[in-house]
């Protein structure tokens, strides 16, 4: 066996001389002249690539802001990398953004495992990890992780609202729960039980779980139906939600059916399940649904449609992901606006934690973003909605904080 190492030597010497090896120098981290460097990580490829469009909608919104003069006279330059929803790749990309591109902050990494992978790193480096795209409750922990903040209502908040609705309208309900066997499903379940309080033990008559890799949830649904429950809390992702809705109808069970917001999209869940079979479902909402006729002439939705046509014409107008991206990007811009000329990482975090009654038009009327040094959960209220066969119809007051 011959070990020929000359070429490796050549290769390594070549890489040493490459320009990437030269360290960059900048005075203020994340500010290059008139530009603010924002880091962004999104799954453009891999199992969660359906969410890749969020990153494109955000980029389109920043383009619009720049064309209109930027924020406080500065342009937003977003560097976006693909992590393919793979945590080691997220670590690599976050390190690239922080150490090489020297961004001011990292905005909107998506998914609980990828965000968990960089959670400690971002906080050790003291770089803001802002408005992460996951509803896990753990992002609201300013004491231990003062550099990380969520955005959407967390799963426990939402589940507690269903629990309150059940306690009020059907105090003797027998509840069956179907949940995805991971931290997302368990987070919801925990919040739901906390919401029911002492009555959780007697009211929940059956729990069943499934794995993401399962082909169907038919057997779980049969078990739940056999338990004699009259109320069903459906903690599933769109594919399984559609199966469960269809099964609950076809088997003749027809319980009072609560569907988690994760799968509330008419296009991706209810239409495949059958709109007629979805009548009477309950869910919660915090964003306006751009497909919903009641908002057709709403100024925010009109503005959004115009924005999409001009800045992201290839984007899908039906996809809620694009509306979400537009909405979360506005929150980011608000924070930078508030930071004024003091664009340090400390001040960005301070401003993100000082949002007061910020209510962009994309949120449902009455929902406001409020944060403080001890409250890192921007959106904490939702509104219940019932499906009428065509649209989600909101009812009652905005609930939560």
């Amino acid at each position: 066996m011959k070990m020929n190492l000359i070429p490796i030597a050549a290769l390594i010497s070549a890489s040493l001389a490459s320009p990437a090896a030269l360290a960059q120098k900048k005075e203020v981290v994340g500010i290059a002249g008139k530009e603010i460097l924002l880091g962004h990580i999104n799954p453009y490829s891999g199992p969660a690539s359906a969410y890749g469009t969020i990153g494109r909608a955000i980029a389109a919104y920043f383009k619009k802001v720049n064309e209109e003069g930027g924020v406080n006279g500065r342009l937003l330059n977003m560097i976006s990398y693909d992590d393919g929803y793979s945590p080691p790749k997220t670590v690599e990309m976050a390190r690239k953004l922080v150490e090489q591109d020297k961004v001011l902050l990292i905005f909107q990494p998506l998914g609980t495992p990828p965000n968990t992978a960089i959670h400690k790193y971002m906080n050790a480096k003291k770089v803001p990890q802002l408005f992460v795209a996951t509803g896990a409750t753990k992002w609201n922990d300013p004491k231990k992780f003062p550099w990380t903040m969520g955005w959407q209502p967390n799963y426990q908040t939402e589940a507690k609202i269903y629990a309150a609705h059940i306690l009020k309208n059907k105090p003797n309900a027998k509840i069956a729960v179907l949940y995805q066997n991971d931290d997302y499903g368990k987070d919801y379940l925990e919040g739901f039980k906390a919401g029911l309080g002492a009555k959780a033990k007697t009211m929940i008559v059956k729990e069943a779980s499934y794995e993401v890799a399962d082909p169907t949830v038919d057997s779980q649904m049969a078990q739940l139906q056999a338990s004699g429950a009259d109320t069903f809390f459906n903690i599933t992702t769109p594919k399984f939600a559609a199966q469960a809705i269809r099964r609950a109808w076809d088997s003749g069970w027809k319980p009072t059916h609560y569907l988690n917001n994760v799968s509330a999209s008419i296009g991706t869940t209810l239409r495949p399940a059958g709109l007629d079979k979805s009548v009477g479902l309950f869910t919660t909402q915090y964003l306006k649904d751009q497909n919903d006729k009641q908002w057709a002439s709403d100024p925010a939705v009109v503005e959004w449609t115009a924005f999409m046509k001009k800045y992201y014409p290839e984007g899908n107008l039906v996809a809620t992901e694009n509306f979400y991206g537009w909405c979360v990007a506005q929150t980011m811009v608000q924070v930078i606006k508030q930071a004024g000329n003091n664009l340090t990482r400390e001040n960005i975090m301070k401003q993100a934690a000082s949002l007061k009654d910020f209510a962009p038009g994309c949120l449902l009327p009455g929902i406001k973003i409020n944060t403080s040094a001890t409250d890192f959960a921007p959106i904490e209220s939702v509104r219940l909605a019932k499906f009428d066969g065509k649209d989600w119809v909101g009812f009652g007051d905005v609930m939560g904080k």
Partner: protein, 324 residues
């Protein structure tokens, strides 16, 4: 080893030692991952390149190694360096045991069996009975090791990334030396002979079953050690980190680097670490299409892998020198 090669080895090692002082911490981290992948690819190359057994599931052994390291560090407070032998030993046994029934399978059937291993491990890691150790979907976060105090006392100040790089480099050198020693000896020859003609090998008195299972075990051991090092470098393990694409990536690495070549593992590791990033820089819309183009180009231009192309190039140079 000829004198030229010894000189080259010295140059490579010297360059590898200087490297982390010239590049950023982030690049150092990337080169640490290159070394990690090189060990994993070397392991897979023993099995597939030298012994002719195709594995589409080596990501599973990488995952087992990674979880061994993470669980030992997180739950039992074992120092990071001590997790490597454990990860290696666990994977050696796991690989050997998987290799025994796999003996009956040839070619594509073995590929399918290993594929099954690769796809089934991530969901198993999420299973609720294992969750108290594996942390379920949440995974396990681990702390990055600091440079040992004794070095600081000696006046050598290294940051965490540099230290981990040197630690990984030392392990890589050791693993490569062991592999080199093994592959050029009796066992290495038996492995290649089984690949080329197993009946003839059996007639020569080689215990085919034993050699094949052992190769599987050693191959898994290498990949497991790489997994443990990878977990320490990334500081996080979760089932999503080890999907089936990891196994495929490893296979891509050995084919691009060069089958049945020790140095090929290094080229393959550079490829799988850097080419996806380059593809992502070229096109955000379709990074994998660009990656596919790179792959096609390599397969067409360098059909024997990078190592094979270099071998042929060197041979041609030598012929020219001999008959000018």
């Amino acid at each position: 080893m000829s004198r030229n090669n010894l000189v080259a080895l010295a140059v490579v090692l010297a360059a590898a030692c200087v490297l982390p002082f010239l590049i950023s911490e982030y690049r150092t981290f990337q080169f640490t991952l290159v070394l990690v992948y090189a060990i994993a690819l070397l392991g897979l190359n023993m099995l597939t390149g030298y012994n002719g057994q195709i594995s589409l599931g080596h990501g599973a052994f990488y995952a087992i190694g990674a979880y061994c390291a993470a669980i030992l560090m997180d739950k039992y407070g074992v120092p990071y360096w001590a997790t490597l032998p454990v990860a290696g030993a666990v994977c050696l046994v796991a690989g050997f045991l998987f290799g025994l029934p796999a003996l009956k399978l040839e070619g594509l059937y073995l590929a399918l069996a290993t594929f099954a291993l690769g796809v089934s491990l991530p969901p198993l890691l999420k299973h609720h009975h294992l969750e108290q150790w594996t942390g379920g979907v949440q995974g396990i976060s681990i702390l990055k090791p600091d440079s040992p105090e004794i070095l600081t006392e000696l006046g050598i100040v290294l940051n965490q990334d540099q230290w981990l790089y040197f630690f990984t480099l030392a392990v890589t050198v050791a693993m490569f030396l062991i592999a080199w020693n093994l592959l050029r000896g009796r066992i290495g020859r038996a492995m290649v002979a089984i690949r080329d003609n197993h009946i003839a090998t059996e007639t020569m008195g080689v215990n085919n079953a034993m050699v094949k299972s052992l190769t599987f075990g050693i191959s898994a051991m290498y990949t497991g050690v790489a997994g443990a090092l990878g977990a320490i470098a990334v500081q996080f393990v979760a089932p999503d980190s080890f999907n089936i694409f990891l196994s495929i990536t490893l296979l891509i690495g050995i084919v691009i680097g060069g089958l049945a070549s020790i140095q090929g593992a290094i080229y393959g590791a550079l490829f799988i670490q850097f080419v996806p990033n380059i593809a992502d820089d070229i096109s955000k819309a379709a990074p994998w299409a660009i990656f596919g183009l790179f792959l096609l180009a390599f397969v067409y231009v360098l059909p024997a892998g990078v190592a094979g192309a270099i071998r042929m190039g060197m041979a041609r140079l030598q012929r020219k020198r001999q008959n000018p």
